[in-house]
């Protein structure tokens, strides 16, 4: 039954369990709030969401966050008494809050500032002194200004309840209440950056981007985090052709309202001084197009000399779907050898992970929060895909039991039971789990614990099987899918969640499921089979465990070309460098580990960053019609340049080309804001 209620004379119908504050918002009526935050729940601490219930099951002035919508409710948000009370709440908060909005670094994107102005509190009546606090050092990423605190408890609730870490919280009572750590120190919580987004005022601010500009100075765009395979939504802020900071963007399907610190702060490479921004042939700088043309010439002559099979392209899962498609197609047309999967550890299991998912068994990260039983095999979310650990914690908080089968010493921010088993044992253990019979297979010394897992699965309503790809092989990934299949056959709504190493590992395997492992490439280079290598956004060097071998292999090459936006080792060793624009400049489609293709929009135009030196000169120094350094191609465009052809004219044409050339990608044409799921064609 969906309750019908009236708020400010508007008839509203909402889902059962919707809070009045959210019901109002769904109808475009914004009720002020400080402590209320959907993900953290309602606690009724700040009292600023007071509204008047005129008729229905509840009457009088109540906090709209604490009351669930019910049939027949009549609510007035503009009742005089409620408005006066809310005005007082703001006045009380402002008793101790600094009056420095015009020069405060939070000014302009401060909820407290907005609601103070909106609430009509402009004149200070309180004549007493302000309470002041000492600020703390919380590490290199977050600034602490406790004097600004209005005690909404969002930070302590997020930190301790939502994340499960205890080194930041609330101390003291009454007006001496203090939010911080027991003593100065780096925050231990790997999700602590969310305090910045959560704080309704400027107690916690982003330290690296402090004083780099006002919110309205930035070019702001939602994008996809490319740090791991989860594809969390991020808000990119850019200024002067540089990324200033990343924040969490809301995604109902993937990450909810938060992101991890690794994603938030993992963008320094894009602003690196060493980032390739100019084409380079040998030691000579030139325009990217010219460098590409020179590379094309070398590749042509080498192909003539040694045959097309002596030329290889190395790509990676950090490239966009467009880039991977463009370069894969180039290899196909030229009969060059393509190595687009550069993660040695995940090479065995990842293809099985992609083929194991189906529209029936797939589950979004947000939905993992509603699981009532989670079994993680060979997966360490906190290390491999941090936000997943946070989703698992929410499931655990709601009562889910969590189990792990892993050989490693796991530390997760919630309780779980671990079966300590070597990776090669896991297949047997998984295949022994039966929906109906006694525990079978070869559980051996783990029989007791495995029986408990089986029992828990049987008694669960919505179990999720998590499977990593870093330490286990193909057979484990298949066994996880097999288990899910058995349980589903037995009418148990079981879901499957794999972790994958890179932002577009899934996308790369969608385009070509035949993984050419990177060690094959290295051996082929070393043996002299491959004479020329084009490294396109390749992490071959970072991922390689045998650097000596790779060094020998690279030295054996006649020609190394690197097309990258990152200052990698291969770029510094390359004979020809083609600088390409980053995801923040070119945008791109990324397919996360649950098959969800999402468009990451470009945040700013590519080009040389504008530097304000303070020396008296005013940018731009050079007057011209084009952006200085703005001639970097997108990584996908470089594929056409290397082929000596004109690339598709723009992103639209590129999409046309890609969906035609790779029919599996067709769903991206109808991609909504939440992305679209793409499964391999059967």
């Amino acid at each position: 039954m969906m309750p019908n209620l009236i708020i400010d004379n508007k008839k509203i119908r909402v889902a059962k369990g919707t809070r009045v504050i959210d019901a109002a918002e769904s109808a475009g009526i914004y009720i002020p709030r400080f402590c209320y935050f959907a993900e953290l729940g309602a606690v009724g601490a700040c009292r600023v969401c007071a509204v008047k219930f005129i008729d229905g099951p509840v009457e009088g002035i109540r906090m709209s966050c604490m009351v669930e919508a019910e049939d027949g409710m009549v609510v007035a948000t503009d009742d005089a008494e409620a408005v006066d009370f809310r005005r007082h709440v703001i006045e009380w908060m402002m008793m101790n809050h600094p009056h420095d909005c015009p020069v405060c670094d939070e000014g302009g994107h401060c909820l407290l500032q907005d609601l103070t102005v909106a609430g009509g509190h402009g004149i200070r009546r309180f004549a007493g002194k302000k309470r002041t606090y000492a600020d703390q050092y919380l590490g290199p990423l977050i600034s602490h200004e406790e004097n600004r605190c209005i005690q909404c408890y969002r930070c302590s609730r997020f930190y301790q309840e939502y994340c499960g870490y205890t080194d930041l919280g609330v101390m003291g009572i009454a007006q001496r209440i203090y939010f911080g750590r027991y003593k100065d120190g780096v925050l231990e919580n790997p999700f602590s950056g969310n305090l910045i987004d959560l704080c309704p005022t400027g107690v916690y601010t982003d330290k690296p981007s402090r004083y780099t500009g006002r919110r309205w100075d930035f070019e702001r765009t939602t994008g996809v985090c490319t740090t791991c395979g989860l594809g969390c939504s991020i808000m990119v802020s850019a200024r002067y052709r540089q990324v200033v900071r990343l924040e969490a963007a809301f995604s109902r399907a993937v990450n909810g309202a938060f992101i991890c610190d690794r994603g938030r702060y993992g963008f320094s490479w894009v602003n690196s001084e060493n980032r390739p921004r100019q084409g380079r042939v040998a030691a000579k700088a030139m325009a990217p197009q010219k460098a590409a043309a020179a590379a094309a010439g070398r590749l042509d002559s080498l192909a003539e000399q040694y045959g097309a099979g002596a030329i290889a392209v190395a790509g990676s899962g950090r490239s966009s779907l467009e880039t991977l498609a463009a370069w894969m197609d180039l290899c196909r047309r030229r009969s060059w050898r393509g190595f687009f999967f550069d993660d040695l550890a995940a090479a065995p299991a990842a293809p099985a992970a992609v083929s194991g998912l189906s529209p029936e068994n797939v589950v979004s990260m947000k939905a993992v929060e509603s699981a009532d039983m989670i079994l993680a095999v060979g997966a360490d979310p906190l290390g491999e895909a941090p936000m997943l650990a946070l989703a698992m914690r929410q499931a655990w908080r709601a009562g889910a039991k969590v189990f792990a089968i892993d050989s490693r010493d796991l530390e997760w921010p919630f309780e779980f039971q671990q079966v300590v088993a070597e990776p090669h044992e896991i297949v047997d253990l998984l295949s022994g789990i039966e929906p109906e019979n006694e525990i079978g297979g070869n559980a051996g010394k783990h029989a007791g614990k495995m029986a408990a897992i089986q029992d828990q699965i049987r008694h669960s309503r919505f179990p999720v099987i998590l499977c990593g790809t870093a330490i286990v092989d193909q057979s484990t990934a298949l066994a996880a899918a097999g288990l899910v299949k058995r349980l589903r056959k037995n009418k148990k709504d079981t879901r499957l969640f794999y972790t994958l190493p890179k932002a577009n590992t899934f996308g790369g395997l969608l385009l070509d499921h035949r993984v050419q492992p990177p060690d094959e490439l290295i051996h082929a280079m070393e043996s002299g089979e491959i004479k020329a290598l084009v490294a396109v956004e390749s992490d071959l060097w970072q991922n390689c465990t045998d650097r000596d071998l790779l060094e020998r292999a690279l030295n054996g090459l006649e020609f190394l070309c690197a097309a990258d936006c990152m200052a990698t080792e291969l770029v510094s060793r390359a004979d020809i460098v083609i600088p390409v624009s980053s995801v923040y400049e070119a945008g791109g489609i990324y397919v996360n580990q649950e098959a969800r293709a999402q468009w990451s929009a470009p945040a700013h135009a590519g080009g040389t960053p504008v530097r304000i030196t303070g020396a008296g000169g005013h940018p731009p120094r050079v007057i011209g019609s084009a952006i200085p350094g703005g001639d970097m191609p997108g990584a996908w465009q470089a594929a056409w340049q290397i082929a000596g052809l004109a690339p598709p004219a723009g992103p639209g044409e590129m999409l046309e080309w890609m969906t035609k050339t790779y029919p599996v990608t067709a769903p991206v044409k109808t991609m909504a804001a939440q992305g679209v799921r793409i499964f391999p064609l059967q």
Binding site: A45, M93, A127, I173, A174
Partner: protein, 436 residues
């Protein structure tokens, strides 16, 4: 002379022993309830309800009614918490009750636990009551030795484990739900029902929180029956006796057990020795610091929950603080408010920030810096306290509300003459900002 029930074994300088308590009829109700199952738990609840025994901790909620909200099929273990965190300013009856007759409380706890079939009873005691805590710990051992508590009470197969827990020490811990959080090791912030503690309290188990005095009444109600208990009161709707803590400008301040419904005038004149020489009654706090000031016009009011409520007052804990005609009520209100400002748990904005605001205004008025608009500001803010998270802030402003309504002239006198009419103060003596 009025009959004494709870304090009949009170002795000068020592507690009543278990033998003395037994001689006065003690532990008879417990024996019957456990050995003969007479009365069974359901009847205990019923009798308490019929007796109209109201919670003596301040709220005056019927104990029988509260007990009946524990569902029959509620899970175990269930908890009974004896609230001995007596921190309401002016209140000291619980301490006197424990020091006078500890076994009366122990029997009351075990019987009340029986009524809701609770296996664990916790005495949450104020840390300043170290002597009382030690008395209880010692006497609990005595009761355990006599088989009157602990495992398998008197061979009945029923248990009631008794735990004495010393509070970490905050006023808000006396609030039932904050007390629950404190016992769980959390911050002592109140919890907002639902769920109610009687269905989901300590560690999500049914938990009944009762005041010391209430629990002390229980054995007497069970032994002598509901009609007897009701007949103790002087009013039609009242029941039992009340232990009043009297302080202030009277000749003999102290603890007096008197029938419910006794007149304030009789309490002061007959039992507390009257006003000190040269003092005239001006006002009193009828039930601790979080109740409305009662002016002289209420001097003959009957002290009984319903009688007082009819007149807009609360009996609260029955702590009567008497002010004479020489006392400045603005200063008294500011003094009380200083306490509440310090003791706010800090959870919600009106209480945490609004009370200090009101205190600041009161101090300014008292210091001769008052402005006419302050009265309206105070009135509005006090009125808004009813929208705070728990009952703390509305209680904290009750004396102030009475001040600006019933003693308006005194407040305006401060403002118009820019100073306290009760003092011939040197300037700078009472800086409005130097309190916190």
């Amino acid at each position: 002379m009025h009959p004494r029930v709870l304090l009949k074994n009170r002795k000068s300088g020592r507690i009543a022993t278990i033998d003395e308590y037994r001689q006065s009829g003690g532990y008879q109700a417990l024996e019957n309830a456990f050995v003969k199952n007479d009365p069974p738990p359901g009847d205990i609840r019923e009798t308490l309800l019929e007796a109209r025994l109201l919670g003596r901790g301040g709220a005056g909620f019927p104990i029988g009614k509260k007990m009946s909200t524990v569902p029959d099929n509620a899970p175990h273990p269930r908890y009974l918490v004896c609230n001995a965190d007596e921190m309401e300013p002016g209140t000291f009856k619980d301490r006197v009750l424990i020091h006078a007759d500890p076994h009366q409380l122990i029997e009351g706890i075990v019987l009340a636990a029986r009524a809701i079939e609770a296996e664990i009873a916790v005495i949450f005691i104020r840390r300043e009551y170290e002597n009382a805590a030690r008395i209880l710990e010692r006497e609990i051992q005595v009761a355990l030795g006599a088989g009157l508590a602990g495992k398998n009470i008197l061979g009945s197969g029923h248990d009631c484990e008794l735990v004495v827990h010393r509070s970490a020490g905050r006023y808000i811990c006396g609030e039932g739900t904050a007390l629950t959080n404190a016992l769980e090791g959390k911050r002592a912030n109140p919890r907002r029902p639902p769920p109610y503690p009687t269905t989901s309290g300590l560690w999500q188990r049914p938990t009944e929180v009762q005041n010391v005095e209430t629990l002390c009444c229980v054995p007497h109600v069970i032994s002598n029956g509901a009609p007897w208990f009701r007949s103790l009161a002087l009013t039609e709707n009242g029941a039992g006796t009340k232990v009043f803590s009297v302080s202030g400008r009277v000749n003999h301040p102290g603890c007096f057990e008197l029938p419910m419904g006794i007149r304030l005038s009789e309490l002061i004149e007959e039992h507390a020795g009257g006003m000190v020489p040269g003092s005239r009654f001006k006002a009193c706090m009828p039930g601790g610091a979080s109740t409305r000031l009662m002016p002289g016009s209420m001097y003959h009011l009957r002290l009984d929950y319903s009688e007082m409520e009819k007149n807009g007052y609360r009996l609260g804990t029955g702590a009567i603080m008497v002010f004479d005609h020489k006392t400045c009520l603005v200063q008294a209100a500011a003094n009380l408010m200083t306490f509440f400002v310090r003791e706010s748990c800090g959870w919600c904005t009106p209480c945490r920030e609004g009370l200090p605001y009101i205190l600041d205004l009161l101090k300014r008025i008292e210091a001769g810096q008052g402005r006419a608009e302050y009265i309206e500001m105070i009135r509005k803010m006090c009125g808004h306290m009813k929208y705070s998270y728990c009952a703390f802030a509305p209680g904290a402003v009750a004396p102030v509300q009475a001040l600006i309504e019933d003693f308006h002239a005194e407040v305006t006198d401060h403002i118009e003459n820019q100073g306290c009419p009760f003092k011939n103060r040197q300037s700078g003596e009472n800086d409005a900002e130097s309190h916190y």
